[in-house]
């Protein structure tokens, strides 16, 4: 069969599959992308078609993961955590479906900008790799201080950077002692479910419970449907206002170069930077979610493409996580024999574009047209109890997958501390992610760990 036909078919499979997976709240990217990509590789798909499959999966998952985040207030995956405060505000205003549309329109723009930019950038790179790698820890520690200062908690957030870094590295040492490997997903999940877990803890505490007890059920006013486009395919440029387009494009462009940083960290950083400049609750929230979801797409694409095209080595958090199978999938791929060695720059451009276009065509209009219907369905039929239960269970399964009982214990320890820091002291999840990334460097400097 023609290589293009296989690529398009696999892109369709990836697009449909991950459009659906994205709708499941809390489905971890690494945990879902790696097994499916590995499956496609081990089934013997040609390398270029594997790449199309992967790009289609990336874009469609990152468009649909906006839905659970905005509609239910449960992060679609860990990358969505920095958006939660803003989507909760929009949900309370009764416009969660607008939040979804702004987010995924920003996401699509982010993808279309970062794909060519990162591909071009990868051609020039090589020599800077060491610099980025060397200074990641410092950069994140500094970013943690800046974001902490601008967060709700302000000084307490700054003050707690070192203790939280100490907790993380302490747990890291402990789990290394038990398992012989470092945990990553478990820490992420812990920070992600922190706010929810602390609500549960507060409800269980007879002294603190009064803060969360309510006499009446929560009321939601859902805003009317406004459809500003005709036909099935909307134009993302018309969903966003001009400043939203510019902020999203600019931050997607910038983050296309920051390939060694945490995607979640960059999402929080760019979003908060833009958000702090905008007045007005509705305007600030909608703009921030557009920018943040644009950045989740751009960092994801850039962090896959740059190390893959420039080095063939997994040098970014993304390449070490969800895209890991593209670099190393024994017995088919290894670090000396993977897509980097098997594909030319033109191959990356053509088959990447196939994946992105097919994925976008499947996921974008689907979410745009049905987000309000989905909201009504979920609000009427899916109880918060069921969602909380599922989310806790998914976290347990994935943490167990990564580190058995140790993984689960690490996750819930981080969730308890991080969640109470977040809820009671105003130390946001974005700050916590930055501390996580900077913690090794911080502890190395302070106590020579």
């Amino acid at each position: 069969m023609d290589i293009y036909v296989i690529s398009i078919l696999l892109a369709v499979v990836g697009g449909v599959l991950f459009t659906l997976i994205g709708l499941i709240s809390g489905s971890d990217e690494t945990a879902t992308m790696v097994p499916f990509t590995l499956l496609v590789i081990l089934l013997g798909a040609p390398p270029v078609a594997v790449f199309s499959f992967f790009m289609a999966a990336v874009i469609s998952k990152h468009l649909t993961h906006a839905a659970p985040t905005a509609l239910m207030g449960i992060p679609g995956d860990t990358m969505m955590v920095p958006l939660l405060d803003y989507t909760e505000t929009l949900r309370k205003l009764g416009v969660p479906h607008i939040a979804v549309r702004k987010m995924i329109s920003g996401g699509l723009i982010g993808a279309l900008i970062s794909f060519p930019v990162s591909l071009l950038f990868a051609q020039f790179l090589g020599q800077f790799a060491e610099f980025f790698k060397e200074y990641t820890g410092v950069i994140f520690a500094v970013a943690a201080v800046i974001i902490a200062y601008f967060s709700k908690g302000k000084w307490v957030s700054v003050l707690l950077i070192v203790p939280f870094a100490m907790l993380i590295q302490g747990l890291n040492l402990l789990s290394f002692e038990v398992l012989g490997k470092n945990l990553a997903i478990s820490f992420f999940l812990g920070i992600a479910i922190g706010p929810m877990f602390s609500d549960i803890l507060i409800a269980l505490s007879s002294s603190a419970r009064k803060d969360v007890v309510r006499k009446h059920p929560q009321k939601y006013n859902l805003a009317p449907e406004i459809k500003s486009w005709s036909g099935y395919f909307p134009n993302p440029l018309r969903i966003l206002t001009s400043p939203q387009k510019w902020f999203t494009s600019f931050s997607s462009f910038i983050t296309s170069f920051t390939f060694t940083f945490s995607p979640t960290g960059m999402t929080a950083l760019m979003g908060e930077l833009v958000g702090s400049r905008i007045k007005g609750l509705y305007k600030r929230s909608t703009t921030t979610v557009s920018v943040m979801n644009g950045v989740t797409e751009s960092t994801y694409i850039a962090e896959t493409i740059i190390p893959l095209v420039a080095f063939g080595l997994p040098l970014s958090p993304m390449a070490l996580g969800p895209a890991a199978a593209l670099f190393n999938a024994p017995p088919v791929f290894s670090v000396d024999h993977n897509l980097h060695h098997l594909m030319s720059s033109w191959d990356f451009f053509i088959f990447g574009a196939i994946g992105l276009i097919v994925g976008a065509i499947i996921a974008y209009p689907f979410v745009m047209n049905y987000s309000r219907k989905a909201t009504v369905f979920i609000m009427k039929y899916i109880s918060q109890e069921a969602i909380i239960g599922m989310f806790i269970a998914i976290v347990c399964v994935i943490a167990y997958y990564e580190g058995q009982v140790t993984g689960i214990l690490v996750t819930f320890t981080v969730a308890a501390v991080g969640g109470l820091f977040n809820r009671i002291l105003g130390v946001g999840s974005g700050v916590q992610f930055m501390i996580y990334y900077g913690s090794a460097w911080i502890m190395a400097v302070l106590i020579g760990l």
């Binding site: 929560q218 939601y220 109890e385 399964v397």
Partner: protein, 142 residues
């Protein structure tokens, strides 16, 4: 079935707010238990079963998929067993709700009013969504 559910729910005299939505405490605990049993159970069964039919390298991945499937099954089961407590109205927020919301979100009304006044694109969006009134109720009365 539905009636039975309603009567059992009316017995619960208070709710707890978790992640911005109200839930019944006992239902949350049951739902978490059901989900963990099905999710982790699926994963552990997969770890026992898949080595018999699949290659070693894929056992973990397949088990993970089975675990996630268990979580989704638990979502459906819990959604059927425990109905949502939230109240959904598809109309405009009334004044009482709007005031509670403003307090809840710690809104600076002067800032909001200035944005609505100076930014026609945002104002149009907010008017289409019928949420502009939430921020301007008090202004009109002044």
């Amino acid at each position: 079935m539905n009636d039975e559910m309603k009567s059992s729910e009316s017995e619960s005299d208070y709710y707890v707010e978790i992640l911005g939505d109200t839930v019944s405490p006992s239902h949350v605990l049951y739902s978490i238990l059901i989900s963990i049993v099905l999710g982790l159970g699926g994963f552990l069964i997969g770890k026992q079963f898949f080595p018999l039919v699949a290659e070693d390298t894929m056992v973990n991945s397949y088990s993970l998929l089975l675990g996630i499937a268990g979580c989704v099954a638990a979502l459906v089961l819990s959604a059927i067993l425990f109905r949502p407590k939230r109240i959904l109205t598809e109309s405009q927020a009334n004044k009482e709700d709007a005031n509670k919301l403003l307090k809840d979100l710690q809104v600076d009304l002067d800032e909001e009013y200035e944005v609505i006044r100076k930014d026609p694109v945002t104002r149009k969006e907010m008017e289409d969504l019928q949420i502009a009134d939430i921020f301007t109720h008090d202004e009109k009365e002044k």
